[in-house]
Symmetry: C2
Subunit: 255 residues, 2 copies
Amino acid sequence: MQQCCDAYAQAGFGGVSVWRNVVAPNEGGVGLAEAVKIVKGSGLQVPAYVRGGFFPAADAAKRQEAIDHNKQVLDEAAALGAEQVVLVVGAVPGLPLDEARKQVANGIAACLPHAQQAGVKLSIEPLHPMYAGDKSCINRMAEAREICERLQSPWLGIALDVYHCWWDPDLEVEIRLAGEQGTLLGYHVCDWRLETRHLLTDRGLMGDGCIDIAGITQMVRATGFAGLAEVEVFSEQYWAMDQDQYLELIAQRCG
Amino acid sequence: MQQCCDAYAQAGFGGVSVWRNVVAPNEGGVGLAEAVKIVKGSGLQVPAYVRGGFFPAADAAKRQEAIDHNKQVLDEAAALGAEQVVLVVGAVPGLPLDEARKQVANGIAACLPHAQQAGVKLSIEPLHPMYAGDKSCINRMAEAREICERLQSPWLGIALDVYHCWWDPDLEVEIRLAGEQGTLLGYHVCDWRLETRHLLTDRGLMGDGCIDIAGITQMVRATGFAGLAEVEVFSEQYWAMDQDQYLELIAQRCG
C-alpha cells in the first residue's frame, strides 16, 4: 500500500480509492491505523473506500449482519478521509431479483443515518448485467436512480463505471439526471475488450476496447462533476506486467 | 441435419429451428433443397431460421449488402417453412451505438416488404449487454419494442431469450406489452451459469443456473403465446457429450 501510494503521488495522480482488502487485517490488509497513516502521508485524495453493499440475504439475521458490516465500513472510510463508500449491492442465487432489490433499498436506508454521522456518502454502483446472478441486482443507472429518488438523502448517490453502463441507451439521460439530482458521486474508467476472456478479470485499459470513454467523460463533466476519474482495471494481463511500467502506461492512457 | 431431425422427432419434440450454417453450402451446409427435404420429411415445425441481421456498417454499400443478404435469408426461411427469421441486429466497434441503432431500424424497414412477400416474419432478438460491442446494439426488450412501435408492421416482432433478458427489471412489463402488441414471436430457453467460463459458449441447460425460467415461461404463456419454447444452449461442455444422452437430458429438463 505504501509503495502504491508513493508511486501514484510521484506520478502525479490526484488520489487513490482504497480497497478494504488492503486495510482489513482479516482480509490480509495492513490494519486501519497503518492505512490511515499511509494515505494521509501520501497527500492523495481518497475518492472512495471499496466496497460495501451485499445487502440481500435469505434470512433476516444475515441481512442485519450486512447492515452492521456496512456501518463498520463507513467508520473505516471516515478514518481514511474517503468521500464515499462504493456499494456493490449484492444478489443471491435463488432469491428473486425484485425481492433482492427491495432488500437492497431497505439495507441502504438502514445505513443512511450512520453515513450522515460518519460524514461519508454511500454510492450505488450499478454493475453490468452479467453480474446479476450473485453480485448485483442493480444493473443500470435508472435502477440506482430509482432507489436514490425513493430514499431522498444527501448521503446517497451513484458511482458510474463505464465498464458496466456503456452499452445503455439511457446512459446520457441518466448521467444528466444524476447531475441534476446531485447524485453523481463517482466516475470509473476502463475499457471493454471485444474478445473478453474472463467475466471478472479481463477488463481493458482505456483504448484497448470499444467504449466511447471520451464521449461519456464529456457527459459526466457537463454535469459539473468535479471529482477524480478513477482508473479501475481488473485484469490478469495487466496485473502480470511490471507495475511501474503499467503505471506509466495508465498515465499515458489518461492523457 | 437428418440425424438431428430424426432424433428430435423420435424424442417427441415438436420442432426445430434451423441455423443457416447447416443449410448454406458456403457455410458448410447441406444446401437448401436437401434441408427443405429433411425438415419437411421430419414432420417438425420450424419456428425460426437463424439468423439474419447484422445491419450496421460504416459504409452504405455494406449496409445494402446486409439488406440484400437478409432478403435472401427470408427466401430460404420461406422454403423451409419457417415462421420467422431471427435477427441478431449487429454492432460495429467504433460506430456509436445510437448510430448503429438507427441503421438497424433502417435496415429492418428496408426488409419488411420482402418479409411480407415471403410470408416470413422478422424477429428482433435483444442480446445480452455483454454482446453490445460487436454483435448487437439492441440489448433489452424495451429497445426492440421501440423499433417495433416505430415500424408498425405485422411482419416484425421480438424473440425473447431468457439468457439475454432475465436480469431486466422491466422484463415482466415488456413481455406483457409484447403480448398486447402481438409482437412476441419467439421464446428461447437455457440457463445462466453463475461461474460462466466463456462469454459465448458456456450457457447452462435449464436448471444449471440462476434464471427463474418457470417464472418467465409463466409470463410468456400468460400473454397467450402458443409457440414452441426453443432450447438454445451454446455450450462446449454439452457439445462434448454423447448427443443422444444429451437429448435425453434436454427432454428431462424441459419436463
